[in-house]
């Protein structure tokens, strides 16, 4: 699983942090930070959910 995101467009809502805290965090400005760019497959569901609820649609999962 490969995760990419566009931090320029991140609006800092923090939904990804709530849904997949093992993978996503926010920096001090609220912008998305990737804790783990290629997490194990058991986290796939949570990561895909994080991408689905991201209001700025900036998280992409391959």
């Amino acid at each position: 699983m490969k995760i990419t995101f566009d931090e320029e467009k991140c609006c800092g809502a923090g939904q990804c942090v709530l849904v997949a805290p093992e993978v996503f965090d926010q920096d001090d400005d609220g912008i998305v930070v990737l804790l783990n760019p290629s997490p194990s497959d058991d986290l796939r569901e949570a990561v895909e959910e994080a991408a689905a609820v991201c209001p700025a649609n900036v998280i992409h999962v391959e």
């Binding site: 609006c11 923090g14 709530l18 926010q26 609220g30 649609n57």
Partner: protein
């Protein structure tokens, strides 16, 4: 494609059942998911009722949030602090201004606030207990006045750096702004007093900065010429109104819902770790912002099979999207264990999605968990039919919630 000449609905039709959005939405989602609605000034806009279409509109930069854009749907009511504010700007200006505020409301900074939110909740519950005792038997406490309103009020006071000695006056002005009991002119006067108060608060912080959002904006942004005094005041008003009325009404409705679904309440009392999921479901179920996000098309865009032309207005019915059976099976049922409740759009969607959502979640989770724990015998002191619902306000909820135990 031309729109069918339907007789237009009002943009915000009344609710039928107090716990359900307007019944017309279910019909529109099937028969005419992009429909014409009439606005108070006689113009019309497109009403979007399906979940996928609502998300598509709110995440599409071709739909502008700027109320000065041609065709922007006029609501007839302008919330204090709305005009020219963050919620009425588009990227890149919106991005720049929103990023000034996000550091204060990240998941992490709100987590750090949780102990303080719990303390405030405990103090308010102590006062509720004292009031109930003093009332004797039969007696009741108004949960809206004793907890649902003062909790967000205290928390926003904390964030804005309202000094302790001003809390009472600040809360009383805020309560007047929000109340239905007062005449419109009293509310308008209270709004003016609130703006005067906020102007003085900001001026005071320019002289004596503290450790709060406004002082941060003044120091970091006004100093650098990125914000004016008036823009800081406008931001304070927006944070106050947006972060206040919505949360207060969700706390009241949340408590009432748990009283109406005692099995769910019992489950949550036994296992408080279920509360975050239950709060997402409460947000989905109630969708308290009656006037959904408004946009103006800046290009011809097809939505749900209908071409929306540049210069036409759009209103997204969040309450309808949150009851869309394509996304939420048995959408009119309240299920605190619903697997995908976090997909709700109660906070909106797109780059304007509620800035204070982490704060709202924390206040709801803490207040409802504390109510369940401290008042296991909590019950309504009036018939459900006699609860005064805010069918007349932009933010749905209860005007009062008489409870006893």
């Amino acid at each position: 494609m031309l729109s069918k000449p339907v007789s237009p609905l009002p943009a915000e039709p009344p609710r039928g059942c107090p716990f359900s959005p307007p019944p017309q939405y279910a019909v529109l989602r099937v028969e005419e998911p992009v429909s014409r609605v009439s606005l108070p000034d006689g113009s019309w806009a497109w009403l979007i009722t399906r979940y996928e279409d609502v998300r598509a509109v709110l995440s599409d930069p071709r739909f502008s949030s700027d109320s000065a854009a041609p065709g922007f749907p006029r609501s007839g009511m302008v919330t204090a602090g709305e005009a020219g504010s963050l919620i009425r700007t588009d990227p890149p200006e919106h991005t720049r201004r929103r990023r000034m505020l996000t550091p204060h409301v990240t998941v992490k900074s709100v987590s750090a606030l949780r102990p303080r939110i719990q303390e405030i909740t405990d103090e308010l519950c102590d006062a509720m207990e004292a009031e109930r005792e003093a009332a004797g038997s039969p007696g009741y406490v108004d949960l809206v006045r004793s907890l649902a309103l003062p909790l967000p009020s205290s928390v926003i006071s904390l964030l804005l750096g309202v000094p302790d000695e001003d809390h009472d006056v600040f809360q009383s002005i805020t309560a007047t702004v929000m109340s239905r009991v007062n005449a419109e002119e009293e509310r308008t006067a209270a709004r003016a007093r609130l703006l005067t108060y906020l102007r003085e608060l900001v001026a005071g912080k320019e002289r004596n900065p503290g450790d709060d959002i406004l002082s941060g904006l003044i120091h970091d942004r006004m100093g650098a010429g990125e914000l004016t005094h008036d823009e800081v005041v406008g931001t304070a008003a927006l944070l106050l109104v947006a972060g206040h009325e919505t949360t207060a009404n969700m706390i009241g409705l949340g408590a009432l819902t748990l009283l109406r679904y005692p099995h769910a309440a019992e489950e949550l009392r036994k296992d408080p770790s279920l509360m975050p999921g239950a709060v997402e479901e409460l947000l989905r179920f109630h969708s308290v912002t009656r006037s959904g996000p408004r946009r103006a098309a800046t290009a011809d865009v097809e939505v749900g099979g209908q071409v929306i032309k540049a210069g036409e207005g759009i209103i997204c019915a969040l309450a309808s999207a949150n009851r869309d059976p394509e996304v939420f099976p048995d959408p009119d049922g309240f299920d605190p264990r619903r697997a995908n409740s976090q997909r709700h759009v109660a906070f909106g969607y797109g780059v304007h999605q509620c800035l204070g959502q982490a704060l709202a979640r924390a206040e709801l989770q803490i207040s409802l968990n504390t109510l369940l724990r401290r008042f296991p015998e909590l019950r309504l002191a009036v018939e459900f039919e006699d609860v005064p619902f805010r069918s007349d306000m932009l933010v749905y909820g209860c005007h009062a919630l008489p409870v006893t135990w």
